[in-house]
Amino acid sequence: MVPAGFSKRHYLTIMSAILKNEPGTGAQFAQEAINQTLEPSDKVRFLRDMVRIRNFEERSNKAYSQGRIGGFLHLYIGQESVAISAASLMGPNDHMITAYRDHGHALAVGMSMNECMAELYGKATGCSKGKGGSMHYFAPDKNFWGGHGIVGGQTPLGLGIAFALKYQGKTGSCLCFLGDGAVNQGAFHESLNLASLWDIPVIYVIENNGYSMGTSQARSSAYPEYLAKRAEGYNMAWDVFNGWDVYELRAGFHRAMHRAHTESRPTIVEIATYRYRGHSVADANSKVYRTKEEIEQYENLFDPITRWKNTLINEGVITEEDYRQLNHEALQEAEAAAQFAEQSPWPTEADITADVYHEVDHQTESGLTGKHFFND
């Protein structure tokens, strides 16, 4: 089991972490106050949102293989419960920012499939007018600040968003998502120190899916156990929870957000989750650095959509037929989004130099003095 060259102490994959945790029913978390207030309609909405994310991504994957989408496509399939649980707790002064695996977060905060799909197609109707692509979705009107391509690069930005809330005297928080591969970046550690030093209400959410591209945690982190424990080096609270149960996720996120709201203190939370697909669609080795059995084992035991569906059936909130209907609607919505993207116009050549400078775009006095672009 332990690969050659690694001490047993250092060998910790997400699977071994998962196997140590008996997959509970989530029943104990269902009893927490934050989950007790949920209406059946909320619970169904969570399921629908997860199913929508998965259908959106399956459809985008198809479009990618058809050559409709360029560049990278980092799929979130398997992790949907994390984004929707976090988004479900956001109030008017709670904000979200994430890395490049951002489709799930974008849909979870309420961005439309149409604008997200059209962005993948590079069309003018995309959420970033076709200028950002898969890794760069933004919706400031929904408190969603991207969508950032450089690993760890968003961690100081999340700090800044939370800093701004505090500066403006608002009680809120910023949920700053990152992957297990980002925890070794310097900018993240600088952000942790500043967050704790200045009592900034930021929550760093490590979505630990076990692999930073093809490198497992055992081969990348000197800490043999929880990545979130690095918080101790910065006098910061940390928490670890499982990523496959909505009740547990909501309870965990709520603890951190409550700390941010009431104490203006940061937290690192680490969530055990798993991506079924490669690092990106172009990841040719997604079944080389891990086994097919590992992927199947996770899907069978821990798939967050199946588990939440079963929870709701057990609670009598939905039936299998309701679920099939919901899935069918999401499938149709994703298909319609692909058609929308397909039929949307491309950006024009003139669009290449728009949205570079605010002052130029708005034709202000400042935007009109001097030369900003140098092709002629």
């Binding site: 200028k131 760069h136 400031p140 100081p156 968003i161 120190n193 002052e359 202000t364 006095e365 030369k371």
Partner: protein, 325 residues
């Protein structure tokens, strides 16, 4: 009502006036508050405006500059001091990947009204790591604006404009200019970005420069007139991006000869851009090839005697000017 103040005081006045004008403006940087600034630009501001508006950051440029970028997305206007612009390199990802592109990649949904300021110069015998002049590097990035004031008057007016601008503006100052006294009017004024200034009129030759090289050119122009009867015009770019091409071209069309002077290295520098632009747009007006004077093309040397030689001196400009006159 005119008076003389030095370059650092002029910047300090700009910072203080903008802090008072706009509650979203705050200053952050290493030693800017309780220490009163490594170069005393921010002296007294913390005592006057307190912890909220003037913030000491740990040595953590990627952290606090990235934080400022994030805060600006929500409407704050951070003015972030780099003790030296050379330290920008540890914050490059935040200053380029985030600050310069977040507006573009969001299709214009976001903007990033930040200022990063501090000294960017050699000539102080602190070795190569502390002597970088990166105006060409940042000027190369669409989305960024770069300003290099040469005088106290310009420093104040450009700084106020930079703070009010809704795009990221990187202001590169010069420690060797901080103590220089200049006429600066009382009261408020601003100088638009992208407008060059003719610092000295002349008919025989144009010297184009920015930052401290402007001062070098003004001295060279005096020598050229006194010793060679050559009347040199000195065009101070003030702003690298946006760039005032028209003022350069107007001067070239008057004098027909140009020397482009900079304290940066020659390869892919601002001077290269200006030179290419002049030959393309004013070729028929030139009576001689466009000449350039730059720092000697090596990392900044420590040796005090030689660092003086490495950077353009008035005599270097005179010699180059005579070669084309």
């Amino acid at each position: 009502m005119s008076r003389q103040i030095d370059y650092r005081t002029a910047i300090r006045e700009a910072l203080a006036e903008e802090i008072e004008r706009d509650p979203n403006v705050f200053i952050i940087g290493e030693e800017v508050a309780q220490y009163n600034g490594a170069y005393k630009v921010t002296q007294g501001l913390w005592a006057k405006y307190g912890d909220k508006r003037v913030i000491d950051a740990p040595i953590s440029e990627a952290g606090f500059i990235g934080m400022g970028v994030g805060a600006s997305m929500l409407g704050l206007r951070p003015v972030m001091e780099l003790m030296f612009w050379s330290f920008a390199y540890v914050a490059f990802d935040q200053m380029i990947n985030n600050a310069a592109t977040v507006r573009y990649m969001s299709g214009g949904l976001l903007h990033c009204p930040i200022v990063v300021r501090g000294p960017a110069n050699g000539g102080t015998n602190v070795g190569a790591t502390h002597s970088h002049t990166p105006e060409n590097l940042f000027g190369n990035m669409p989305g960024l604006k770069v300003v290099c004031p040469a005088t106290a008057y310009d420093a104040k007016g450009l700084m106020k404009t930079a703070i009010r601008d809704n795009d990221p503006v990187y202001v590169m100052e010069n420690t060797k200019l901080y103590g220089e006294l200049w006429d600066v009017p009382e009261g408020e004024y601003t100088i638009p970005l992208g407008v060059a200034d003719v610092k000295r009129s002349g008919s025989d030759l144009t010297l184009v420069a920015h930052g401290r090289a402007v001062i070098t050119c003004l001295k060279a122009a005096e020598l050229l007139e006194a010793e060679h009867d050559i009347k040199a015009e000195v065009v101070d770019l003030r702003s690298i991006r946006p760039l005032d091409e028209q003022t350069i071209l107007d001067s070239v069309r008057k004098t027909h000869r140009v020397v482009v002077v900079e304290e940066n290295k020659p390869f892919c520098g601002v001077g290269a851009q200006i030179t290419a632009m002049i030959q393309e747009k004013a070729f028929d007006d030139l009576d001689a090839p466009v000449a350039r004077v730059s720092a000697i093309d090596a990392p900044a040397i420590y040796s005090p005697r030689l660092e003086e030689v490495q950077l353009p001196r008035p005599m270097d400009v005179v010699t180059k000017a005579l070669s084309i006159c």
